[in-house]
């Protein structure tokens, strides 16, 4: 493991080796044992974790009692919990489950249809062909005298 990867591991997962992903924990421990730079990074990460722990006091007993009392009053005044909602879709759910594997094909068909409509709208209108009009055809049908 490179030192940059180790620094990234510490930033992502913290200083506690228990939290490191198993795939990279062994390599990280080996680097920690062999590199003074890695040990310095780890000490810094431990110090940051410790500072974070110290920066977050829990509620004192008075605050906790006040919060419990307020919550108990609010819950007593609140209506009973809402009943669970029925499953969306009702009887359509089994059909939706059966059709789910087909949704890529359905999306493809919709996209193709949209492209066709777009092409039909953007394509230039057909111009009138002079040799296909009624007068030339009638002229062609006229028998020479």
């Amino acid at each position: 493991m490179r030192i940059e990867t180790f620094a990234r591991l510490l930033d992502t997962h913290g200083a506690d080796p228990v939290c490191w992903p198993p795939a990279s924990a062994a390599a990280a421990r080996a680097l920690l044992a062999s590199s003074e730079e890695a040990r310095a990074l780890h000490r810094r990460a431990l110090a940051l974790a410790s500072a974070l722990d110290e920066s977050l006091p829990g509620p004192d007993a008075e605050t906790l009692a006040r919060m419990r009392a307020r919550l108990a009053r609010a819950v007593a005044a609140a209506p009973l919990p809402e009943p669970p909602r029925a499953a969306p879709g009702g009887w359509l759910r089994p059909c939706a489950g059966w059709l789910r594997p087909l949704w890529p094909a359905g999306c493809g068909a919709l996209v193709t249809l949209a492209l066709c409509l777009l092409w039909l709208n953007l394509a230039p209108a057909p111009t009138a062909q002079p040799w296909l009009g009624a007068p030339p055809l009638l002229a062609m049908l006229e028998l020479p005298e």
């Binding site: 810094r44 974070l52 920066s55 419990r68 919550l71 609140a78 919990p81 809402e82 759910r93």
Partner: protein, 212 residues
Amino acid sequence: MPHALFSIAGWEAPITERSSPEAVSVPPMARDRAAAEDAALLAWAAAGDRLAFDQLATRHLPALYRIGLRITGSGAEAEEVAQEALLRAWRHAARFDPARGKVGTWLCSIASHAAIDRARRAAPLPLEAAPETADPAPDPEAALAARQRQALLDAALRELPPRQRAALALAHDQGLSGADAAAALSISTRALEGLLRRARGLLASRLRGILD
């Protein structure tokens, strides 16, 4: 859409897929609420048992307060966050699906979303309003150094976006696994790792001289 709406929706299962816990069948008079697991307490609460919900709230209030404090940076806001999260949990108790995670993680999720919403609405926290922490060092020099470090850390934490503070609150302070913390924040594990990396990186850079 308020961020807090995600906290309930992600944990809800359709009623047809939900397993009904056997705990609900215990009559109220026979319930041992102090010894009951969180899932049983929540199931009883969903059936209208306010004493069971009080027991559940007592267990989780300190953790929810700490989540609120980390994300909002204010003790008063943290109290509001804990109260709001638990009231929301009371209202939606019947929608919780135990198959999708632990009750504690669900409550952490509700609290962190509520705190993120509050932190986004609130003005930046003035330095004087930062929570005071107890100073365990008897040595005056060490106490001064600790106060300086704390002030720097508080200032650096205020620089973080609320979502990064929430990631720290769940993954570092509450010790949730990456998957649980990501589920609580309704994001992917990769996104959570990005939030944590950026948060720790900024804090380390701000405290560079202090942490060495």
